[in-house]
């Protein structure tokens, strides 16, 4: 326990020269994936050259939409990544933390709309909704940590993961019970936010620009918090080694709560961004974005904060462009239904090709083994 030299992470087990069945399948998957992607790309590109593809405006819109959606994923991914970095388990309930912010934010937005503030003072109302969403998500995240995870901190990882699945399930249906199962639709965005914006000759939707800017600002703020402040240093120390951090006088419990709180706050912001992009929220809203955000965290390298944002944007682009650029070229019908399949495949392929992520994992001493 004390002086163990951590083995290299995820070194593929090559015990013998002989190719085992598993490795064989992995190679088939690798080669197959590359082949499929290449054929798809060639097919699509020939189609685009033949003039069959979408227009330049459509491409622009798709790419910007991918960026906007991706930066939202990135914000949620931060929560997964930070908790994984500190406690070494996937907080499955983080998607529900995100949903809680979006859901309670709706009621704030709705009452602001009924009071007429939403139209007369749009930015202020968005700010209020943002605060409500952040507060809710932070509160839910802290409560979950306190009630469920704290007592399990020393149990096997599998137990924590199963608990988080239970928490996720419970939160979903608790919200369904409290607020009903119907889709709640945010009031329409005020005119100044529903138009288009010209940036350097590029016309993009204002709401998507807003989403990207908010995500970027939050991300930079978080990065500064983690890297420049004393709290951030404590956070990194706890992620590296809890016991030694405790010996250095860091309050580990408080730091872990802080990790959940910060992750929750980011998820709350993402909740509002989701509402700006899609408007409709219901109790199951957290599930898919949650899984996708986790995928984003893995893509960028779990535990890695800039990696989460990078992975998010990458996944967003992959999800919006993938069906069109790869699947369409393969002659698959109805590609727009397969966006989620593309996202999940990205997760599977990433873990098959490079489980440590594109920018590398940042895990604590215990988790590397």
């Amino acid at each position: 326990m004390s002086a163990d030299v951590a083995p290299k992470p995820q070194a593929p087990a090559r015990r013998s020269r002989r190719l085992t069945f598993v490795e064989g399948v992995l190679w088939v998957i690798r080669i197959g994936a590359i082949l499929l992607i290449t054929i798809g790309l060639i097919g699509s590109i020939t189609k685009f050259i033949g003039g069959g593809g979408p227009s330049a405006e459509a491409w622009r819109d798709l790419i910007v939409a991918g960026f906007a959606q991706g930066s939202m994923y990135g914000l949620i991914a931060l929560g997964y990544s930070m908790v994984y970095g500190v406690l070494g388990f996937i907080n499955f309930a983080h998607g529900e933390v995100f949903m809680s912010g979006a859901m309670v934010g709706f009621f704030a937005a709705n009452s602001l709309n009924q009071a007429g503030v939403w139209d007369s003072n749009p930015l202020l109302s968005l700010f209020i909704v943002l605060l409500v969403a952040m507060a809710t998500s932070t509160l839910v995240a802290i409560l979950v940590e306190r009630v469920a995870y704290r007592r399990l901190r020393n149990s096997p990882r599998l137990i924590m993961l199963i608990t988080s699945i239970g928490v996720s399930f419970f939160l979903q249906y608790a919200f369904a019970g409290l607020f009903g199962v119907n889709l709640r639709t945010y009031p329409a965005l005020p005119p100044i936010l529903s138009g288009r914006l010209d940036i350097l000759g590029l016309s993009i939707q204002t709401r998507q620009a807003l989403v990207i800017v908010v995500a970027l600002v939050s991300m930079i703020a978080l990065y500064q918090l983690v890297n420049r402040t004393k709290t951030g240093r404590a956070l990194r120390a706890v992620a590296e080694d809890k016991e030694i951090a405790a010996l250095m006088g860091i309050n580990v419990d408080r730091t872990i709560v802080l990790t959940f709180a910060v992750g929750g706050a980011m998820a709350g912001i993402a909740g509002l961004l989701y509402a700006i992009l899609f408007r409709g929220v219901f109790f199951f809203t957290g599930f898919l974005p949650g899984i996708k955000a986790f995928t984003a965290a893995v893509l960028g390298g779990i535990g890695n904060i800039p990696g989460a944002m990078f992975g998010g944007v990458l996944l967003g682009l992959f999800e919006t462009l993938g069906p069109l650029v790869i699947l369409d070229g393969l002659g698959i019908p109805g590609v727009s239904q397969l966006r989620d399949v593309v996202a999940f495949s990205a997760l599977v392929l990433m873990l098959v090709f490079r489980p440590s992520g594109l920018l590398g994992e940042r895990l604590g001493a215990e988790d590397r083994a």
């Binding site: 083995p7 995820q10 593929p12 087990a13 015990r15 085992t20 069945f21 598993v22 399948v25 992995l26 998957i29 388990f89 996937i90 009621f107 469920a148 399990l152 020393n154 149990s155 096997p156 990882r157 599998l158 137990i159 993961l161 199963i162 608990t163 699945i165 239970g166 928490v167 996720s168 399930f169 419970f170 939160l171 979903q172 249906y173 608790a174 369904a176 019970g177 409290l178 607020f179 009903g180 119907n182 419990d253 899984i291 986790f294 995928t295 893995v298 698959i332 019908p333 109805g334 239904q337 397969l338 989620d340 399949v341 999940f344 495949s345 997760l347 599977v348 873990l351 098959v352 489980p355």
Partner: protein
């Protein structure tokens, strides 16, 4: 809180220290904490409309409803917990006394704030239902016991306080009485919940009058029989309690899982299996079939998670392979090409398909870390579900309409279909027996031991020459085959398959069944399936408690969290598993006190002597911290 620090533990050098018992006192932090928890829980249950829904089911006609039991069970539990004393070896413990009742009353008063807030919210003109659609005026009526706001609120407070005080009073009753009361209450609750089964059963035997005398149809027990049953159960429990423990002890001493004991259990189980379906009607048999199907899946998942220690969240994909495979091969309405095979011809092909699916899904994931494995398998499950629904695969699988007219299980002389649940149950039971026997044999085989080894420590297992990837793949494939049996039977039973039947929910519920019963333990998994699927029901299949409806999944989530926190080894744990889970805990407890502070002098020297749940060594030098307990 401070006065608990008056005495030091009287530690002796040659044995565990005698627990010092201090005077009873109100622990303010604990009391206020549980009061707040009670208030929050009661407010929540009222706000989601659970109280009103559950109130429709009576347990004792006409005085006690399930809703009231659940609702006022909250302050009762909180009152009990507030008075409970956590025994930490080597520390002084607080004693019990009448002052516990005062603590209970405080908890009750605090708890009643929760429902009172709900009443207040419902009393305003503000349209609360726009936000909380389940907070109906009927709920207010119910909370106020049908009285006016003033007297209703007082009654509410009164009942809550009485419940909490009763909970606290439990600590003051002698252990034997306490046990008897609990058994009595449990008997009443169980008997009133199984009204449907008993009605069905007694009707079949021509004893309808007995049912009429004891139960009210579609409701609970009658008052007088309920009282009699309670007294009978309590008296029996009281007079037998000493002997029961002795017998249990003897059995435990002999061997935890002695062959004779399990042989008897299996024989009794088989007899029940054959006889029970004959005694009940189709409604209850339907329930049995559902339990059987979920048990079949749970046995398969048990191999993956319980034996090999892999958390597989895409398990429903294999169930879908079985169901779709059977449907496509047997149904005359199969899209693209109808093979119209009989069920038994299709089954081997389905098994081969499931094996291939197991290998294909298993191979990329067996090398992954445990939690990555969970999320990737979940991804696979979702890919398959979305794929079947899409325009791409839809034409081959029937899309959202699914496949209709799946024939039953054809035995040549008789075709067993879902309309005859009794026959269907026998077929399902046969598969369950095969699966259980296979699991049991596997567990104690070389393969089973290698699973156990890699579950405990993968690196060590590898060093010992176990091909971990192969062992994991094998677990995956066997799990897949069991699930495909269940899927195949499911398709024949329902007569059609739809993509919506293969939701992630199925995976999660099977997971809960395995965990609640006891991971890696066949009797545990059986108990889990019977209790959960039988009482609560599956994702779309109703259980005995049909009233649960929309709250079923909430309860499943809560059960999962509760089990993980309090009893991760399950209701019927295997010995190895509880040692694994509690041995570690005990070891940690030995190093740390409850607040996580490192104890001076370290853990007791004899690490091997740590038993489940108790530290056997003598932590002589374990000093209590400033605040005593908690």
């Amino acid at each position: 809180m401070a006065d608990t620090m008056t005495t030091q533990p009287t530690a002796t050098a040659d044995g565990p220290p005698e627990a010092t018992v201090l005077a009873a006192a109100i622990e303010w932090r604990r009391t206020l904490g549980y009061g707040a928890l009670g208030a929050a829980t009661m407010a929540f249950i009222a706000m989601i409309g659970m109280y009103a829904t559950f109130d429709n089911r009576l347990l004792i006609v006409p005085i006690l409803s399930l809703g009231a039991l659940v609702y006022f069970g909250v302050p009762l539990t909180m009152g009990y917990l507030a008075g409970a004393v956590k025994v930490v070896p080597g520390r002084p413990t607080r004693g019990h006394g009448p002052i516990d009742l005062a603590a209970g009353a405080i908890v009750g008063v605090l708890s009643s704030i929760g429902p009172l807030v709900v009443v207040a919210l419902l009393s305003t003109d503000f349209n609360i239902r726009q936000t909380f659609p389940n907070m109906s005026p009927a709920q207010r009526e119910l909370l106020l016991f049908g009285q006016s706001t003033g007297s209703g609120s007082l009654t509410l407070i009164g009942v809550t306080v009485v419940a909490a005080v009763l909970g606290a009073a439990f600590h003051l009753i002698h252990g034997k009485f306490r046990h008897a009361i609990v058994i009595g209450v449990e008997t009443i609750v169980v008997l009133s919940l199984i009204e449907l089964i008993m009605r069905n059963f007694l009707d079949n035997l021509g004893l309808t009058f007995l049912h009429r005398a004891v139960w009210v149809t579609n409701s609970g027990l009658r008052l007088i029989p309920a009282v009699l049953i309670f007294l009978l159960a309590a008296v029996l429990s009281y007079s037998l309690s000493g002997r029961g423990t002795q017998v249990k002890q003897k059995l435990t001493e002999q061997s935890q899982e002695s062959r004779a004991k399990s042989a008897i259990a299996i024989a009794v189980g088989l007899v029940i299996l054959v006889v029970a379906p004959m005694l009940v009607g189709s409604l209850v048999n339907e329930l049995f079939v559902n339990v059987g199907l979920f048990l079949l899946m749970a046995l398969g998942l048990n191999i993956v998670i319980g034996y090999a220690g892999m958390l597989h969240l895409g398990y429903v994909a294999f169930f879908a392979v079985g169901a779709y495979g059977t449907a496509l091969l047997t149904s005359p309405l199969a899209p693209s090409f109808a093979f119209e095979m009989t069920w038994w011809v299709a089954l081997p092909i389905v098994v081969v398909a499931a094996t291939i699916a197991g290998l294909l899904i298993g191979a990329p994931v067996v090398g992954l870390r445990g939690d990555y494995l969970a999320i990737v398998t979940l991804g696979f499950g979702e890919i398959i579900r979305i794929g079947v629904l899409s325009d791409w695969w839809g034409p081959y699988f029937g899309g959202a309409q699914g496949v209709q007219q799946v024939p039953g299980v054809d035995f040549g002389f008789v075709e067993v279909r879902g309309v005859d649940p009794r026959a269907m149950f026998y077929v399902t039971a046969a598969f369950v027996i095969v699966a259980a026997y296979a699991s049991w044999r596997l567990q104690h085989s070389r393969t089973g031991r290698s699973w156990a080894a890699l579950r405990e420590d993968e690196t060590t297992a590898q060093v010992m020459g176990i091909d971990t990837a192969k062992a994991k793949l094998l677990a995956f494939v066997i799990g897949a085959i069991f699930a495909s049996f269940a899927g195949s039977l499911f398709a024949s039973k329902v007569g059609s398959v739809f993509p919506s039947s293969f939701d992630l929910l199925v995976s999660i519920i099977v997971l809960v069944v395995v965990i609640v019963g006891g991971m890696g333990h066949i009797p545990g998994v059986m108990v889990g399936a019977i209790v959960l699927i039988g009482v609560l029901g599956g994702p779309t299949q109703p259980g005995i408690l049909q009233e649960l409806g929309e709250y079923k999944l909430l309860i499943y989530g809560a059960i999962l969290v509760y089990m993980m926190l309090e009893k991760p080894e399950g209701l019927v744990p295997s010995l190895a598993r509880s040692r694994e889970l509690h041995g570690e805990e005990a070891q940690q407890d030995a190093w740390f006190d409850k607040k996580g502070n490192l104890l001076e002098g370290g853990p007791p020297a004899d690490g091997e002597a740590i038993r489940a749940g108790a530290v056997d060594g003598s932590p002589d030098d374990a000093k209590p911290t400033e605040e005593g307990e908690r």
